[in-house]
Symmetry: C2
Subunit: 408 residues, 2 copies
C-alpha cells in the first residue's frame, strides 16, 4: 500500500462532471490498495471572477482581503470534490489549508510555506478517509488567511507530500510529462521517464513552464519524488527525483526555448565598483526580471553590461534605467534589441562530458543560425538567437544530441 498525493488543477475541477472524473480517479487509486490525498485548485474561472469583483473597488485591492476572497475558490472545490467522492461511496473529508496545518509567512498573495503540521491529515487518513486538501492557501501563525501566489497548488501538493511522508506525489496536468523539447516544435520529442530536480529547475527557468521553480526547489529540499502526468489518461508520466549515477550517462536531458525575449546593452559605463549594483538595483526596484547577464570591460577601460528580459518589460526597463544612467555617466548609452529568443540545453551529464558547447554551436552553425549572447551553468548552456529561427535552432540541437532516441 502506498500513500499517494495527487494534485488537480483548476481545469480538472472546472465543472461538476470533471469533479466526478477526479473522484473516479481517486477511487481507482484507492481501489488499487493505496491511500490517497488530493490537492485541488479553484474551479477554472472562479479566481478570475473573484479578482474582477475585487477590482470594482479599485485597481489595487488590499492584498490581505484579496487572500480572504481568493481562498474561497479552493474551499468550494474541496467541499464539492469530497461530495463527489461520497457519491461514489468513498469515505472522504475536505481539508482547508489551515486544517492541513499549512503555516505560512511573508506577504499576502505570495505567502511562503514555513511549516506543515500533518496531525489532522494523518489522523483522518488513519480513520480510513481519502482527503481533499485546498491548494494555494495557508494560514499565518496568528490565524490570517494566506494565498501562495502563482503555481501555489503545486507547492501545496509537494509540501503536503513531504509532511505526510507520501510515497509519491502526482502532479496531474494537461501535458503527459516532461519532454526532451516542446512536442509542438520538435515533432519527435520524447517523453522522459525521469529527470533530476536540478534539470527540472533549469528547464523551468528556461521557459518549460510545467511547474514553477519554487515547487521543484521545495521538492528537492525535502526529497519529495514527484511525477508529472496527464489528468486525461493513465499513462505513466515523468518522475522528478534526486539524481542518481546512471543519469549522468545522458549528456543532454532536454532542450527548452523561450520566446519574446529582449536584450538591453549599456555601454560606456565607468569601470568603478557599484555600477552594476546601481543598474540592476533600478531594474529590481521596477520589478523587472532579468535573465541572462553579461558584462565585460573594453580596452578603453569602460564597461558594458548586457542582459535579457521579457520583451514586454522593455519599455519599463528603459524608463527605469534613464535616471540611473544620467547619474552614473554622461557618456553611458543604452541599446536595445527585441525579437530574440533563448535556447537552453540542460543535462547533468554535462558535468562529466566535454564538447557539449561545441556540438551545440556546430549544429546551429550548420543551419546558418547566428548566436547572440551565451550563458552557462554547470548543467546548462543557453544562447540567444533571432526569434524567427528559434524553432529551427531547437530542431537542430535536438537532432545533434539524438534526443529522440532513448539512451541505451
Amino acid at each position: 500500500m502506498a500513500l499517494i498525493v495527487q494534485k488537480y488543477g483548476g481545469t480538472s475541477v472546472g465543472t461538476i462532471d470533471r469533479m466526478r472524473n477526479v473522484a473516479a480517479r481517486m477511487k481507482r487509486t484507492r481501489d488499487d490498495g493505496n491511500q490517497v490525498v488530493a490537492v485541488v485548485s479553484a474551479m477554472s474561472g472562479i479566481t478570475d471572477k473573484l479578482i474582477g469583483m475585487a477590482k470594482e473597488f479599485g485597481d489595487s485591492p488590499a492584498e490581505r482581503e484579496l487572500d480572504v476572497l481568493l481562498a474561497t475558490g479552493e474551499q468550494q472545490s474541496i467541499a464539492l470534490v469530497s461530495m463527489a467522492l461520497h457519491e461514489l461511496g468513498v469515505k472522504a473529508l475536505s481539508v482547508t489549508g489551515r486544517q492541513a496545518g499549512i503555516r505560512t509567512s511573508g506577504s499576502h498573495t505570495r505567502g511562503r510555506i514555513e511549516d506543515i503540521d500533518p496531525a489532522f491529515m494523518k489522523k483522518s487518513l488513519d480513520e480510513g478517509n481519502s482527503l481533499v486538501v485546498a491548494g494555494f492557501q495557508g494560514c499565518t501563525l496568528d490565524g490570517m488567511v494566506h494565498t501562495l501566489g502563482r503555481g501555489g497548488s503545486d507547492l501545496t501538493a509537494i509540501a503536503v507530500a513531504a509532511a505526510i511522508k507520501a510515497d509519491v506525489c502526482q502532479i496531474l496536468t494537461d501535458v503527459d510529462g516532461v519532454y526532451t523539447c516542446d512536442p509542438r516544435v520538435v515533432k519527435n520529442a520524447r517523453k522522459l521517464p525521469e529527470i533530476s530536480y536540478d534539470e527540472m529547475l533549469e528547464l523551468a527557468s528556461s521557459g518549460a513552464k510545467i511547474m514553477q521553480s519554487r515547487s521543484v526547489e521545495f521538492a528537492k529540499k525535502y526529497g519529495v519524488v514527484f511525477e508529472v502526468r496527464s489528468s486525461l489518461n493513465d499513462n505513466p508520466g515523468t518522475m522528478v527525483l534526486e539524481e542518481h549515477p546512471a543519469m549522468e550517462n545522458v549528456v543532454i536531458r532536454g532542450v527548452s526555448i523561450e520566446r519574446s525575449q529582449a536584450r538591453v546593452t549599456i555601454t560606456n559605463i565607468p569601470d568603478e565598483p557599484g555600477m552594476s549594483g546601481k543598474i540592476l538595483g533600478a531594474l529590481a526596484d521596477a520589478e523587472i526580471n532579468i535573465d541572462m547577464i553579461l558584462s565585460n570591460t573594453a580596452s578603453d577601460g569602460l564597461a558594458r553590461h548586457s542582459f535579457t528580459m521579457h520583451s514586454n518589460d522593455l519599455g519599463r526597463a528603459q524608463a527605469a534605467l534613464k535616471p540611473v544612467l544620467a547619474d552614473i555617466s554622461e557618456g553611458a548609452k543604452v541599446e536595445t534589441e527585441a525579437g530574440i529568443a533563448k535556447l537552453s540545453c540542460v543535462g547533468i551529464g554535462m558535468r562529466s562530458h566535454s564538447g557539449v558547447a561545441a556540438t551545440m554551436f556546430k549544429a546551429l552553425g550548420a543551419q546558418d543560425i547566428n548566436i547572440g549572447m551565451i550563458s552557462t551553468s554547470e548543467i546548462k548552456i543557453a544562447v540567444t538567437v533571432d526569434e524567427t529561427r528559434i524553432e529551427d535552432a531547437a530542431r537542430a540541437v535536438h537532432d545533434a544530441f539524438h534526443l529522440d532516441q532513448a539512451p541505451a
Copy 2:
C-alpha cells in the same frame, strides 16, 4: 463614542453597489465618532447557488462539507465589503467566523455558539480598524468549519455585540422596525419605539418573522440591546431590550398573525399515562413543529388532543400518526381542519391588567368572527380563526386596544 455592531443581510450586500452603500453607512457611523463592526451575510443568491451545486452530488450532501462550502459565501462578502471601505478611505479588516473567535458545537449546518474569544476583534478595533465579520459561521474547538443555520447572521451579530460589549447592535433589514401589527394588513399599524425581549420572542414565535427566536433569546441571556431598523434609510427603528417598569403601562404591545395553519384533533384516546408522549413523540420524530396544544378529558373518560401546525405539514402528520393510533387504541380517531389562521396579542402589561381576553373576544365577536382554539401564556393570548377572516380579526383587535395611538 459608542461601539456599534451593524448586521447586514444578503440583500444589503447583494451587489457591488449595495456593498458600497453598506460601506457608506459604516463610514457615516464612524464619522459620527463611533467604532463600528459590521456582521454580513453572503451575497443574496450565492448560498442557493452553492446548495444547487452540492445537490448535483445527491439530495443529501454531507453536512460537514456543506458547511465548508456555504461558509465561503460570507467569506467573500467580508473581503469585498472591506475593500469597499478601503475605497472610501476607511481603515478596515475582514474577520472570518474563526478569526472572530466564534466557537461552536452541535451538528453541522446548525451549529450552536458556545463561546466567543473577542481578542482579535478588540485588538483590531483598538488599532483603529472598522471590522467586517462573517455572519452565519463559526469554528469548532478542533478547527472544523461550522454554519449556524437559518437566521445565523443575526445570531452572530448579537453574539459579537455581547462579546465585545457593544453599546448597541443594529439589525439592518428590509423593514423599518417592529410594528404593532403587519402594516400590510393593518394600515394604521404603528412602529414601536421599544419592545421587551419577551414580547419580541412571543411575536417571533407567533408569525412576526423579523428575527429567529434563538437570536432574541441569546440577546436576552446576555443583555444585548439591539435595534431593528431599515437598511434603506436612517430612521430610528425599534429598540429591543430588557423590560422596564414603564413598559407595563401598555397592555398589549402588538398583534401578530400566522396564516396557513391546520388543526389536528385526536379523539377517543384512553386516559392513561404516556398517551400524549406517544402522539407528540411521533410528530417530533417526523420533524413536524407543533404550535398550540389543547387536551382534555370527556365525561366518558376518553381524552382528546388538539394541536395546530403549518398546513404544509398536515399530510406528513397524518402519515406519522397512523401507526401510533393503531397502537394506542382501536377507537382513536383523527379529525383535521386546514384553512385556519392564528391571531396573537402580546404584551407584558397583561400580567398587571385584567380583562384583556374579554376585550379581545368581544372585538372578534362584534365582527362575527368565530374563535376556534385558545391558548395563553403569561404575556400572550392566541386564538385560531377561519383564515378568510384573519385580516378582519387583526384590524378589530388592533382597534380594540387602540394600538394605532402611542401610549400617553
